[in-house]
Amino acid sequence: MSKVSELLNQDKSTLIGYFPAGYPTIDESVEACLEMIKGGVEILELGIPYSDPIMDGPVIQKATEVARANGFRLRDSFEVIRRLREQTEVPILVMSYWNPILRIGLREFAEELKTAGANGLITPDLIPDEAKDWIEISEELGLDRVFLIAPSSSDVRIKRNAEASRGFVYTVSTMGITGERGELDALARDTVARLREVSNTPTAVGVGISTGTQVREVNEYANAAIVGTAFIRAYAEGGLTGLIEKTQELAKGLQLQSD
């Protein structure tokens, strides 16, 4: 059983936080992730810096460019996971574009991921149709695999992608790339409603969520809210203090709902 889906199936609000491994340096990224966890992030989405991140907006692009410029190498991801795992129990899902994984070799990557202590992978540019090998290996190793659904996905695809996922299925809130948005699309609510018709797989909504209010809203209809860009912007502008403040603000969205 997936620890992630167990957590998400509890009757409570959940915040998933994205942060890039190695941003701005390896040490600082570990420190930042631990602060996010301390402040209320219950599942960590650890991003792997990649040269061509087509799902990401300028803030995440910039952060991953900084990490790479500071010497981040792909295998440093495992080091970051190990160091986090020494200090925290929260599930860690690695978010990576597909090519770096293929380059190391899918099996080797998956085994190292597991050994380091991560729980699975979120794959933004891998659809289940192309994921036969990954589905087999993740089943064998007991790793979570998170595929995406989007407002544009057909009902057939929503069902297929949800059933192919393990842990949760990632609902892309709106038609667009990562970044903050003032108002969340009604599309997110509709997409989750369509998911509920066809699957019990838990879902977390991401893309565009940047405030405590949005975290609360999303948790009203989904199992969790995913925030990325807002954490990175807070860190880029205010350092660790800025990040801690942003985490506190977002975590208020969790408390409000349980009142």
């Binding site: 907006g57 597909w98 090519n99 380059r103 659809i127 989007a150 544009s152 667009g176």
Partner: protein, 406 residues
């Protein structure tokens, strides 16, 4: 037992290459495009409309020119140029663009986006947008907007919005990333008019089909001119659209097919764009193919004097043809290409695009290997857009001499 024809292969897969490695939000649009195109490619109405555009707008069929003086200068061979440079907008790119613009109309979309390197595909897209009354945004790496300034002005005159991309290496690769990001956000109203045989299915198959007219016409023209098939068909390869376009009709014939990649400073230096010759299989821009990458799977920077070949990926069908041994891929350095550009200009009065010059530069060696061969070259584009680069390279700025008083 009937033998499978290589030319019958369609996507999503070409052997182990191709597929769809894109975010889920784009799948619905790719499915729609696939459905609309699958119907259109057999629809007499669509084919008639496209044929009319070819004849009355693009100027097809493009002529075949025998380059006797160029051939005499490079060795023992006959050289035939398939003159895609004479198409409206000055390159082969218009073939694909008109086809996709018709499909855009069929899908009821009002906006197209395109990436461009040298600007040829951007100009062709802006042209189709003007013709069909579509809104057009062209993404172009900032580096390329500088080295292809003339084409930026052409696109803007045609009414397109040109966006300089400042992310990553600021060249074609990043222009494609930015176009994909735009497409993810605007997929309901927007068609991504991809300009080469790369990208997710159905682009590699569809773009190939739209360019296959190059091979169909030139096969007929070669038969008329020489009474037989050519011994070799050659083309430059960046993403690979003009090469696939002229190769496709010859896949199952006894004809040598050679693609020339940009070897930049030299194929054994880090400064090149020879994706097939020096790359490894990986996933880039939605398809599995050969690509230039480091040991972490990060895309490597490519280099070429030619903006249109300066791309670290290549279409999946080329990767398959390479592995099958059906086509061969060779590298041509910046210097070899520029020399060939000058030679064709001076011997035949035809200024080729620097991209195209990479194919021309391969003929000297090929004539040594195949003495007396009839060589068909895809003269994929004209060189007007490259005058700034050529002027700098050959030191042609200013006049030869001056007469009269100051």
């Amino acid at each position: 037992m009937s033998k499978t024809r290589i030319g019958d292969q369609v996507g999503p897969y070409f052997g182990e290459y191709g597929g769809r490695f894109v975010p889920e939000p784009l799948i619905a649009a790719l499915d729609q495009l696939d459905q609309v195109y699958s119907k259109a490619r057999h629809d007499p109405e669509f084919l008639k409309e496209l044929d009319m555009l070819h004849r009355e707008y693009t100027g097809r069929p493009s002529v075949l020119t025998e380059a006797t003086k160029f051939a005499a200068a490079v060795g023992d061979c006959r050289v035939f140029l398939k003159r895609e440079d004479l198409n409206h907008t000055g390159s082969h790119k218009i073939n694909n663009v008109m086809g996709q613009a018709l499909l855009t109309k069929r899908m009821g979309k009002k906006r197209i986006i395109a990436e461009t390197g040298a600007g040829q595909h951007g100009v062709a897209s802006a042209t189709a947008a003007a013709y069909f009354g579509l809104e057009c945004v062209v993404y172009m790496g900032e580096v390329d907007t500088e080295r292809q300034a003339l084409n930026v002005a052409r696109m803007r005159l045609l009414g397109a919005e040109v966006v300089a991309v400042r992310t990553g290496t600021r060249t074609l690769k990043d222009a494609i990333n930015e176009a994909m990001r735009d497409w993810v956000a605007n997929v309901d109203t927007t068609h991504y008019l991809l300009g080469t045989v790369a990208g997710p299915h159905p682009f590699p198959t569809m773009v190939r089909d739209f360019h296959s007219i190059i091979g169909k016409e030139s096969k007929q023209q070669m038969l008329e001119a020489t009474g037989r098939l050519p011994d070799a068909v050659i083309a430059c390869v960046g993403g690979g659209s003009n090469a696939i376009g002229i190769f496709h009709e010859f896949f199952d014939d006894d004809v040598k097919l050679i693609g020339y990649e940009a070897a930049g400073d030299g194929i054994d230096t880090p400064m090149h764009s020879a994706t097939i010759s020096k790359g490894t299989p990986g996933v880039l821009h939605g398809a599995r193919s050969y690509m230039l990458q480091d040991e972490d799977g990060q895309t490597s920077d490519s280099h070429s004097i030619s903006a249109g070949l300066d791309y670290p990926g290549v279409g999946p069908e080329h990767a398959w043809l390479k592995d099958l041994g059906r086509a061969e891929y060779r590298g041509i350095t910046d210097k070899q290409a520029m020399d060939a550009m000058a030679l064709l200009s001076k011997t035949e009065g035809i200024i080729p695009a620097i991209e195209t010059a990479h194919a021309l530069a391969g003929i000297e060696q090929l004539a040594k290997e195949m003495p007396g061969a009839n060589i068909l070259v895809n003269l994929s584009g004209r060189g007007d857009k490259d005058m700034e680069t050529a002027a700098r390279y050959f030191e042609l700025t200013g006049v030869n001499r001056t007469v009269g008083d100051e």
